[in-house]
């Protein structure tokens, strides 16, 4: 079986770890081998959270630079920061709604221009799918469902070794009951956004 390597980067609080565990559960449902690792040192204190998910027959739980098949970024500057995980054949999916680092707020850094950011990623990789996931999460009635919107987009690109139904069933198992409807709606909106971008 081919190995698929997915990197998810986010800012603490964006629900990266929940999204990763949904994908892990979906792999379990589909009977696909999976390893993953996460670095969430001080996520609650505004830092970056990175998950590496490896589907298929591999033992490693981390992904080296250049080895990601898909990079999913929940925050545009963080997507660009992680771009060296990609190679020329990688697919990148990114939210376009920025979360300003406090360093920018206090004048200790400049936030990248979003158009330039997209151009840079597009030039370097095989495909970029970029849209405002925060807006779609709001549309779904759950501003915290940015993670589910991006799961929808990730599922749409068709590189995961399991179906959208597997992911939705995993969402039912891993996310809170009272948010399931809005999460599923967010997932569908993300799925469609990726379709349109494709």
């Amino acid at each position: 079986m081919d190995v698929t390597r997915v990197i998810i980067v986010a800012v603490g609080g964006q629900g990266n770890l929940l999204a990763s565990s949904v994908l892990g559960e979906a792999a379990l449902l589909a009977g696909v081998p999976m390893q993953m690792s996460e670095i969430h040192g001080m996520a609650q204190r505004g830092g970056v959270v990175e998950s590496a998910l490896i589907f298929g027959e591999a033992r490693s739980t981390i992904i080296s630079d250049g080895e990601a098949d898909v990079l999913v970024g929940f925050e545009p500057a963080e997507t660009l920061r992680a771009v060296q995980k990609c190679n020329a054949g990688s697919v990148v999916i990114t939210n376009l709604a920025p979360l300003m680092p406090f360093t920018v707020n206090i004048g200790k850094g400049v936030y990248p221009d979003l158009a330039e950011l997209q151009n840079l990623i597009r030039e370097k990789t095989a495909k970029l799918i970029a849209f405002n996931a925060a807006k779609l999460a709001n549309e779904a009635g759950n501003p915290l469902a940015v993670n589910m919107v991006l799961l929808g987009a990730l599922t749409q690109v068709g590189l995961l070794p399991f179906s959208a139904e597997n992911v939705k069933e995993a969402m039912g198992r891993k996310t809170k009951k009272q948010f399931l409807d809005s999460n599923l709606k967010a997932f569908d909106l993300g799925f469609r956004a990726a379709e349109q971008a494709g």
Partner: protein, 624 residues
Amino acid sequence: MHKLLTDNPGEKMLLLGNEAIARGAIEAGVAFTSTYPGTPSSEITLNFFQMSQESDLYFEYSTNEKVALEVSAAAANCGVRSMAVMKHVGLNVAADALMTLAYVGVKAGLVVLSADDPFMFSSQNEQDNRYYARLSGLPMLEPSSVQEAKDMLPYAFDLSEQLQEPVLFRTTTRINHSSGFVTLGNIRKRQPKGDFTKDPMNLVTVPAVSRNLHVKLLKNYETARKIAESSPYNFTDGSGTLGVICNGVSYNYVSDALEDLHATDRIKVLRIGFSHPLPEAPIKDFLMGCEKILVVEEGEPFLEEAVKAIAQEAKLTLPIRGKSKELFSRLYEYDPAMVKTNIAGYFEIPRKPTQPVDASDVPTLPQRPPTLCAGCSHRATFYEVREAAKALGVETIYPTDIGCYTLGLLPPHSAADFLICMGSSVGTAGGFSKVTDKKIIAFIGDSTFFHAGIAGLVNAVFNNHDLTLVILDNGTTAMTGHQPHPGVDMQRLNLDGYGQVSIEAVVRGVGVSHVTVIKPYKVKKSIEAIKEAIAHKGISVIISQEVCALYATALKLPKRKPFQITDKCKNHRVCMSELACPAFYVWNKRIKIDPVLCTGCALCAQICPENAILPLKKKKETVS
């Protein structure tokens, strides 16, 4: 029911490495567990804590790792299977207990888990704790995967019982914080009660006793080596006349590399999971069948040096390489591509490496370092200490300690000048005060104070050091995920049967006469109190009490109204430049406050020169 207590052997679950470890211990029938929390080990004992509330499993958050090991050592000497869990540097604290416990031994299985942190994702050093096995003479086990971590724990307990001595279980962050599918096994019945048989001539380590116990330890060592030589956790993969010897997560990178390089028929692998005492005979056999060896291990050349020694004794002259400028580093963690490159290079296997994209034209991105939370009380205390020192015109040195407040090292706080280990703030403060003429103001958290700060404080009283100790009491062990400590009111968590130790009573009890408790959100009063403490000759202590803002949310404590910057603002930006609270942002060249992030601590409102920061009239919108 807690998912790790599921009694359904054969069921497959997606588990975090630390959950798998906790489950493995449960399957082994562990009945007594203890820890001092520390990343990357903390989730293991969070699960013990939760399970202890719905079963007869005993768990305690001990004051520090030494105490954690001592309580478990006693339980294991009463015939109760026990486990003491800590991060790698925690084993330094517990080392005094460990070294002689190795002589005394145990009656029931005792596993001591050390969670090492190559690359220092959240640690002050990346020491390689395999050397504790060599130093103590105790057996060590090292898993390579999440499933294996679970499976190895019952083996570790059995081994400990067979040898009647503790077993060291070493993980690294990439085991603790990786997830995978784990097939559950049987849960052995717990025996939570034991009994103690007096045997002072074997259990009281006076010199005459210890001289015999050391002989026993060395005998055990030989037995352990024989067990290691037939252990299923030391095994060989593949075939060929080239060889790789590896351990832990390096085994995963080696396996994937050899698959990718189509080299499994030319390069064989010896995976060492029972890494002390080393299985000498199988290593010798492996070397004899090889022309060339590469040792792949993160950290120090622990295996490499031992393998070279074994080769020398066997008069083998084949090349054995590992750590070198051209190959592997002693620094940081390894990754699959780096291991593949080194294997291909060393064994001269041609390949086309995957090229990462060229990111040289990516503009410098703004950093996103972890920072003190919005409404963190440490921010208020740091500001007040700075203002007090400024008002008195004193030059300061700020020894600090291990906790969230270490983040105070960054501007604008710049409230951290020296740090080596848990408790070092107050100990080093004493030294600074004796040899410099500066004012020494040390910072320590509440949990860290109990862990290792009290002895330093007693020392300062006895030796009459001139310093101010600021104890940042936020009512929890915040950094590692809000674990309790001896100063915590456990009733708040609806838990009975705990005592509570008052930090103020401890400080006064050890003889500090100048003690002030401040509420850091009351800025003027706090600055005055700190000025008095700084002016005091000799030891003075400030206890700054305010519950951790994140913990307050978790406890559902009443919320304060968020603040806003009104039109009275003249854009001095004192709030931003002095506090840099993450709730601030710039919009149209003006500072604004994000009402979702603002906790209503009112610190900025009290320092605004125009009194332009006022509470929002509307009730805070809830988002979550």
